[in-house]
Symmetry: C2
Subunit: 198 residues, 2 copies
């Protein structure tokens, strides 16, 4: 048992090393050798944990998602009894690159996207990511509608799609500094103001 735990732990810390390399130098730069250096492991050890670069990258993408979900849940736990609006706001804001960690994640995601042109496994993982988030937002808005928390005439499915794609569309421009994290959050808040009664 200790050896299995150790293996998973090593794979996770290698995944963090992958993010650092991609976040700093882009996807082109990532080789098993670079990650070994970044994670302070020998090439032999890295190859023991991942047999190919793609296997390493897929593990890294999944690990990143787990990391985001853990952070999301920790935020919710600190809020105690959040309203549906607060829950949704927290989820949307987590998508934005507002600090070093989320900037790194956004950069890595864009690199995966660019590499997915000729990698169907990446494409499928990205599809699942988008679809999962969209459904989560739809469910939250539907629950808010059922509880009478939305303004009259709101179609929760249309509003969910609009606010989700707005958040998605803000990621690149915030990363480049076309707009600021503060203005991005304000834009999503303006949308939530329009949807929710209060």
């Amino acid at each position: 048992m200790p050896r299995i735990v150790d293996r998973e732990e090593r794979r996770r810390s290698s995944a963090d090393a992958v993010f650092r390399v991609i976040g700093r130098e882009g996807m082109d730069a990532v080789s098993l050798r670079d990650v070994a250096a970044e994670a302070d492991l020998s090439m032999g050890s890295i190859q023991h944990y991942f047999s190919t670069k793609d296997e390493m990258l897929l593990f890294a993408l999944n690990h990143m998602r787990a990391r985001v979900i853990t952070r999301f849940e920790a935020k919710l736990a600190r809020m105690k009894n959040p309203s549906k609006r607060q829950y949704l706001r927290t989820m949307l804001n987590m998508l934005l690159p507002t600090d070093d960690e989320s900037r790194q994640e956004a950069t890595v995601n864009i690199s995966f996207f660019a590499s997915s042109v000729n990698n169907e496994q990446f494409r499928e993982l990205l599809r699942q990511g988008y679809a999962g988030l969209l459904v989560a937002i739809e469910l939250q808005l539907q629950a808010a509608a059922d509880a009478g928390e939305l303004r009259e005439g709101m179609d929760s499915k249309t509003e969910a799609a609009q606010i989700f794609y707005t958040a998605q569309g803000l990621i690149g421009p915030v990363l480049l500094g076309v707009t600021t994290p503060r203005r991005a959050v304000a834009l999503l808040d303006a949308h939530l103001d329009r949807i929710f009664r209060d």
Copy 2:
């Protein structure tokens, strides 16, 4: 003079070859050698037109923008006296990957974005692209507001940002097939319905 024209023409047709290579295989794959093969030119000719890979890619990105603007203007010209809403709708829909040409352009843009992590020239060009589009949409909505074409209580700057980022956020999901071009257009139309009186 003919030699200059020829040079520009050769550079442009090489730029189209760059798009085909990136659109098919991603940015990693693009080398002067690949583009030479794709454009049916010798390595010597390609190096005569572009001294580095980055110079070629920057030229290609600018050429792509010129290509999109030409297409946009041709569409407007076919519409004859378009309303402000039609103008804006046409501009927003052009951003979406709805056919082979625009899919290729969206793929190339994402590749540039991913490569911009460690390329400040790419970053600046992308920033200008986002900022230019956002301003164009803002101006169009402001003109519509001045002409009394917007519904009451609409803040043209907020609405411009929301609809622009929604369109941006739809690009990736449409490329992956998470949503369809038709639904993406309908979502933007629903937004325009909300902003415009009719």
